[in-house]
Symmetry: C2
Subunit: 274 residues, 2 copies
């Protein structure tokens, strides 16, 4: 790792909980010597990435990051980060790939990309994805704030006979999402449509939306579901990264285990076929 | 300048208009050799401050800046940036110092600090500062978006006999603000209150609010106004910096000229007194 990278890495130690870090604490955290650490801190301060609290002499995140973030948002908006990923997701699965963002208590479609593999395919027609009735919504609710779930419980409209329209049913669904890492909407919004969704995180490290694959329900089987899950994990990691977010550790491990077990199954299937 | 600073400085070349910069363009912009520039770019990419466009091979602002900006906003919110500056502004002028932020088409008080020098002083009672009737509002309108002025023109309520209640009067007032760099509310909102305001800019480089000094009108004279103007320039530069913004070049030069001319006047006065 270069000197420049090592210096910039110091910024990663700041968080909402660790607002200020002094020279001694930086030494302790990084295990580097005082002179080097001080030299890095001076350079970061000089460029505005850090600033020093006049009272405590500790360092905190500097104002330059706000300017840089503004440039990032203007030049690479959320939609752009998603658009790079959806075509791959659609083509690898042969289905409709779509992403949505959380606005207040609503999940709103951001953009989608349809594969041309099958004539029978899903087309998004509504701008809003009901949180209690879609794979995307389940993913967002399961990993979102309790207040979001609370607001959703007030309006559990029945869309199909599979829609969870009471608190107990929805909680059971969400518990399964937390255990597997995937929101499943098996004809919960519309008859014949099967959606699998995973949550997306932004720089606030909270759920900011979902990426999902929607398919004709009759086409779903263990193999197609396995492919969709693998591709969704990859897409969610990429989009979350481009939004400046980090996938929560527990969920990320869950996904890694899923990838491992799915690839083992694939090997087993291949062997049994051979 | 250290290696680390030189590398980070590369980020400053990006803007809304210059979203992507390739290696050759960086060389041209900075006048540095190819190997060094490439080394810097790799380090910035490694830390997520930059990312490379897979198609064009050019660099753009990376996702890490979003995460860092979130930490900055959570740990040093706008109010905090202002609170560091207002006490100095209040004590140096002996008056009420206050800051406001633009929310939609309204200017809303953020926080204030009162000097205890005089018994007769101004106290802010309303949460909103009418844009057409206050020094802060004039500063914001003069340097803000045309749409903001257009919306303001629809509701020019008369507060005192000095309030500009027609488009011609308000335009004349704003022209003076653009020429001097100061919004003056001489009893335009309330009889007996004299306010001087300057605009604040945030990371989007547009007007985000104002910082102002409000005084009892009878206390205003050339000398107190000169002191207030000097202190306001310093406060506005500091707050704008802490909000990740940059004072537009033309206005910044205007302020520098003002500081120079005010300090010359002071010298002249001292000499004539001697």
């Amino acid at each position: 790792m270069s000197t420049v990278s090592k210096a910039i890495e110091l910024l990663s130690w700041f968080s909402a909980e660790r607002a200020q870090i002094g020279l001694a604490e930086f030494q302790r955290l990084t295990g580097r010597d005082k002179a080097t650490t001080y030299r890095y801190l001076c350079a970061l301060e000089e460029t505005g990435l850090l600033e020093q609290d006049q009272t405590t002499r500790a360092y905190r995140m500097g104002p330059a990051v706000l300017r840089f973030a503004h440039v990032r948002e203007v030049t690479v908006p959320r939609r752009a980060g998603v658009r790079l990923v959806l075509p791959q997701l659609a083509e690898a699965t042969g289905e409709l790939a779509h992403a949505s963002i959380l606005q207040g208590n609503s999940l709103v479609a951001l953009t989608d990309h349809a594969s041309t593999r099958y004539s029978a395919r899903v087309v998004l027609t509504e701008p809003e994805l009901p949180l209690h009735a879609t794979g995307s919504g389940h993913a967002v609710l399961a990993f979102g704030e309790p207040a979001l779930l609370k607001a959703t419980l007030r309006k559990l409209k029945r869309h199909t006979q599979n829609t969870a329209t009471n608190q107990a049913d929805l909680n059971k669904t969400l518990q399964a999402v937390r255990e597997t890492g995937f929101g499943i909407g098996n004809q919960t919004y519309e008859e014949g449509v099967y959606g699998i969704g995973v949550p997306l995180f932004d720089s606030s490290n909270s759920v900011a939306g979902a990426v999902a694959v929607a398919s004709v329900a009759t086409r779903m089987n263990d193999e197609s579901i396995a492919i969709i899950k693998c591709e969704l994990i990859s897409a969610a990691r990429q989009i979350t990264h481009s939004w400046g977010g980090v996938v929560p550790e527990a969920l990320d491990e869950l996904w890694s285990d899923t990838l491992l077990s799915l690839s083992n199954n694939k090997l087993t299937r291949r062997e049994s076929n051979a």
